[in-house]
Amino acid sequence: MVHALSEIHRVLKPGGILLDLRALEDSWPVEIVSSAGWQVSGRLEALPGMMEDDEAANQAMREVESGGWFIQTRVEEFPYFYYWDAPSEMKEFTEADWEGLEKFSEEVFRKTASLWASANADARVRMRVRMHIASWQKA
């Protein structure tokens, strides 16, 4: 990871900017959203491998900063939403595409399905991902 950052440093012009945009592994909230508003039905379970990847990325950026390659100029977080029409579709997606990343437990699925069934007819289910964006100037 640090080697990749050194390559990026090499191809950037003096004073160039590195933008680091990524999802922060977390227990992402599952929400039921409709025209009446939204409510949290539970949280996904972040699995250990992804938490370790996050820490490795943060560690790499700390290394290049302490090595004097880049200086952080700005950092923010923002939400990124995934929407499904029904909890069963979300469950199907997480099991097929996110195996080993985030787990949609049976307990949270049941609660989500129950809240969704009793919500407005236009209710959908969504997941709120915590996003990180930071700019680093080439030193």
Partner: protein, 98 residues
């Protein structure tokens, strides 16, 4: 399946609020299928997307909007060995890839 990703375009809005891409030379490391690339490439002077995932690049090439085809270039390469000269880009984007 009815999955929708970021229909509010919060990612694109945040990106443009965060950084001025206008007339810049941009390198995107880990561009994948180009989902993020199309959100800023239109104002850049040149955008180069790198990714070692060739199937994803094939999708990106197929999906590249016609008005971006002259300024967007996509190459199969890893960030560990970027096949480019020194001091070439104004901005490097690491999109969901660090």
């Amino acid at each position: 399946m009815s999955l929708q990703r970021d229909p509010e375009n919060l990612e694109g809005k945040t990106l443009h609020r965060f950084m001025d891409f206008k007339d810049k030379r941009i390198l995107e490391v880990g561009c994948g299928e180009g989902r993020l690339t199309w959100k800023y490439a239109g104002v850049s002077s040149l955008t180069l997307g790198l990714d070692p995932d060739h199937p994803a690049l094939r999708i990106a090439r197929a999906d590249c909007p016609p008005d971006l085809r002259e300024r967007v270039h996509l190459t199969g390469a890893s960030a560990r060995h970027i096949p480019l000269a020194n001091e070439t880009f104004d901005i490097a984007v690491l999109a969901w890839s660090l």
